[in-house]
Symmetry: D2
Subunit: 365 residues, 4 copies
């Protein structure tokens, strides 16, 4: 299905970095969800580069909603968001035609599309397209929050600087949406920024790890096997450019635990079933168990760097070197956060709507 | 789609641990793929517990192919494999009715299915179902190998014992299919087995990390965004019970690298484009780049352990303790390998068939 | 998706006419639907040939439910029905290898499957496979009837003999399920049977038109455009071998009406919105409007006839003649009825479950 | 999947009649298909009302391609077409709020969307959206014609005036694309126009039957059962507002034939297998057999008429009358033709791409 994702709620993604516009169509939204353009704008703001940390490219991300909203509420028919591509300096990319930027898919895309690909700025593969996902996710996230589901992501580590983990029940996720650089421990935020500045100075870049928590989920969401919560989330998360790893609960850390350490003991608390620990990240057998859902994403360093790198001209078939000029982020970890939140909201909405029906998040008049 | 997965090739999975049978239907196979029951049987053998390492349950895994094969070749219409459930001691599970085994989804499934779930031995959520996936994957894998695609998986680490990584071009994967306990360094294999034996003695269990490589892939497989190679593989892999993390190339290790270290330099070699290193695991922008595809899966320790654990009776709504009797593996890492190989084969087949059409792996008469 | 159909409820169909077995997997059923094997057996009975009207082949249709039912109720996980192929005289078909039976897809299938198709008795394309759909539909239909939705089909015409249409609100559909040869006007039933007998004598066959009504549906089921009630139903109905036309309400008759005749006037009745006539067959804009849903299917004459027909041997590439021996129905209209009912039930279940969620038809314990 | 359709090629449809814009996203197009905006404009022209026959609403249908085309060729990534809604007189519809226009889905949509639907001019259910499908289909149709596949549709009957059928091998379809009012027999065209004029005068409307032929198809396209050519085509065709019947080959006429009349005899001709007649419309067992594919669609009379009709105000819950002012076509049969051609092209493209892969219709550089 390529650029279409989801079952009860589907998102169709389109556009190229230097084309006319990028956008997304959301099909399957309930009728009657309030659509607040301020919330969408805020989420897009969180995805933007800023100050010294970011690229010089001004992405206004002035979005339009072409369909699916009437009198401030979703209609229940497809909602289309379009974000025009304004300030694109395609010239920066002309010299790169045929040059495989290391870490990018220029060469692979050329093999796939036989030279017909729009190769300016990565074309359809550009991180720019994630802005449309962030806008779409903002709507799904609003709907979830009306039902008490909260999503929060922080930078757990960035080039070796490690933030503290979430509190026991992730009570601290609420504040994250306000932070442009979401770190739980302020001191660590400063150190991370220093790492980014250092990389920028060296015309290099850094990567990191994002940690996400969701609260307010019931037990029993998800499906066995192919639509396990982990499967659907990972499918969506790995579609984000730069994400190279996803783990739930202890994830790779499970490999050094005993089963007796890895299992979360159940216990009754105020008449509810909870687990005493949450090493499984709120998921058992692919289904939510009612505890906070916790996962982590590995974000690789921005592949576009100013440093000279060895590479090939795949059209001429010869070795060459490249230094990616243009305007690039020395780190995209903090920006990827907004995309992780968005896709998480879209997947959870989909799981809810599959189980509880198309009207679940909607209103009645 | 719950228990149906794939686009050009779909697999439908069914059955319960203690029901009549488990099985899978493969729809979309090319006509003319040779079906060798010996290969299927061998793959099922690799999934089996053995000797002191395994559970006492004898899984004969005597499979039947009900449809889709005629005169030794696939017909191109749905291929159905059924594996009857023979030696099931449901009695072992009767006492567990209402008891949430820690690390299992008994409680979550009860919330989802309102008490109608077949809860004997995990029912539909049992690892037993992966036998059907292994059989299905054997057929897809045979087709891939006819086209020069090889898949191999080894145990990279088990409770702290770490195997060496794959050779530069993963030339050493061919032998893995012959090993019941697939480790590249024999000494490490012995140490891992000691860890398993130690856990077994303590009525406990251990987890580990599997590393998989594919060779022989062309550049340009996969799709942008939602059908990236990473997305589709992770979707499938996370459907395997016990898998809690998936990473490609350096994965979580990217978080401490600079971009200049993370990027793989391209170079011409014998007229072909290759990369000097392979930190991105053979994938750029979600597409294969022609290098070996490399990923790792975190496998949590078997949740079924003989040790007494705190838990709840969710029907009575009270705290209790449980020691999971029955016959269980102190480690499923080596068995999960066969499932990882199978799902990898199914996903790659799907990607090929989507791109090159339904007949790609087939024959002509 | 080939042999997989449906969104919230998917059915996967497999098997060949002369293979080991045929069957279907239903994924997405709610937990807690009572499964009564008598009802399934009865529906299979309605699909069977009988006496002088039918073929001599005894289809026992002894089905097994391999998974998805526990203690008499659906579990909510995939339900698999298998029907072994017992009395198959493959020899009857050996002589036909390479011969294109007129009206059958032997030649087209050969082009598609390059000679690897199982060509005995039509293989996977055989009407025999509809038995699995009937069994699957029986379960969906049971669930619908618990919610007050009734489905009934009669033979509206058979080789020129025309039955009366449904009563105004299709109140007469309830009796149809009891009739092996479902006709509203008994006299017409006799005349139809005479037509069949006449065709049989001439080693020929006849076709007809089935008319189906559903009562008890709410307004607002279905989706705009691609998942209109008409689209989904027609998709399913045209998968039945022999169905060559589908029309809703006045269907092709609309072509001679004025808009003022074609439109159904709305009116209030006992506080409910109804229409005074039902020329649109209970559907407006692709959505149900709360009136009985009415459609008709054209069933072509059984293509297998004993008469000698001109044809080709497509392997030798030469003209020849064929008289299809074997055991065939001179009419499949009355049998197709059971399949139409079954697919209708599956599609409606799917539409309900998409809108109201996976648990809609299920139970609670 | 609601507003998303197709497997190898998917079309996502969005917009409302009086919203900002309507549009469609095509995902799965091969890279390298030439995109000629003149062809798209011509197909949109064929869908437009004209002169006395049409509505007064000027639909400029000035479309923009937002993505997926670069230097005149498809890129292989999603192609997005947007058609802004210009001249919409929403005021005409304000008085209709809560009034169920007979033959329209206002009431059903209100039940489905709980009052949040955009009800101006039918909102998302408006025939206006088919303009986006026509534009999308123009691209698929161009690709097909490069491979020798031709599609043509004529008005077979309109309010009782009947055109002659296609020539034996539908050699006469080529001219149809040039006719704004596509009828094979010119005299009949005039009579049909008279019928339309008569209906217009009476503030009423008329319906008709469209007949479509495709030439140049190979044998073996399509899939058994759920993806039969008939199933996929009917699914798409029934999504067109106003289509209430679809039949293939003799369709409903099969009900009065004997099998010996209904079967098409095969014969060898110049080394190729053909059929002497084409009563099955080029399809056997759901697969193309290499003969022209022929089907018919019943189009109901335009439901919007100026005549006063009885109906209800479903918000107030009381009986009322309505005369639909606004600007409406007394017949949409000739316009529906463009939509039928478009959806046919999209479905055939999908079938080809599924079988022969994503690159089948594309180019190489």
């Amino acid at each position: 299905m390529k650029n279409v994702f989801g079952d009860a709620l589907t998102v169709t993604l389109f556009g190229e970095s230097h084309g006319q516009a990028i956008g997304a169509v959301l099909d399957g939204l309930a009728p009657g969800i309030p659509v607040d353009e301020e919330i969408i704008a805020h989420k897009l703001f969180l995805r933007r580069p800023y100050g010294a940390l970011g690229t010089a490219r001004r992405e206004k991300d002035g979005f339009s909603i072409l369909s699916g909203v009437y009198n401030g509420f979703t209609t229940g028919t497809p909602l289309t968001i379009v974000i025009p591509n304004g300030d694109t300096r395609s010239k920066d990319y002309e010299a790169l035609h045929g040059i495989a930027r290391p870490g990018h898919c220029d060469y692979a895309a050329h093999e796939k599309y036989h030279g017909f690909e729009d190769d300016r700025g990565g074309g359809h593969f550009s991180g720019r397209l994630t802005a449309a996902l962030v806008a779409a996710g903002a709507i799904a996230g609003s709907a979830l929050s009306l039902r008490g589901v909260m999503i929060g992501t922080h930078i757990l580590s960035l080039h070796g600087v490690v933030d503290r983990g979430f509190a026991d029940y992730a009570e601290d996720i609420g504040m994250l949406d306000k932070l442009l650089f979401p770190v739980l421990d302020e001191e660590k935020a400063e150190k991370m920024k220093e790492e980014i500045a250092k990389a920028a100075e060296a015309r290099d870049s850094v990567g990191g790890i994002l940690e996400t928590a969701l609260t307010g989920l019931p037990a029993g969401l998800g499906e066995p096997f192919f639509d396990s919560v982990e499967s659907k989330l990972a499918h969506a998360l790995f579609s984000i450019p730069g994400i190279k790893g996803v783990e739930f609960g202890c994830g790779f850390g499970f490999s050094s635990l005993y089963g007796s350490e890895a299992n979360d003991a159940f216990e009754m608390k105020n008449g509810r079933v909870i687990t005493a620990t949450n090493r499984n990240g709120g998921i058992n057998g692919g289904l939510t168990n009612g505890m906070p859902l916790i996962f982590r994403c590995a974000v690789k360093p921005t592949p576009s760097i100013g440093k000279e790198q060895k590479t090939v001209d795949f059209i001429k078939g010869e070795n060459t070197v490249v230094a990616v000029a243009g305007r690039h982020d020395p780190a995209i970890v903090h920006r990827a956060r907004a995309v992780v939140d968005a896709l998480t909201a879209l997947v959870l909405y989909d799981l809810y709507a599959g189980r509880y029906g198309t009207d679940f998040f909607g209103g009645k008049r």
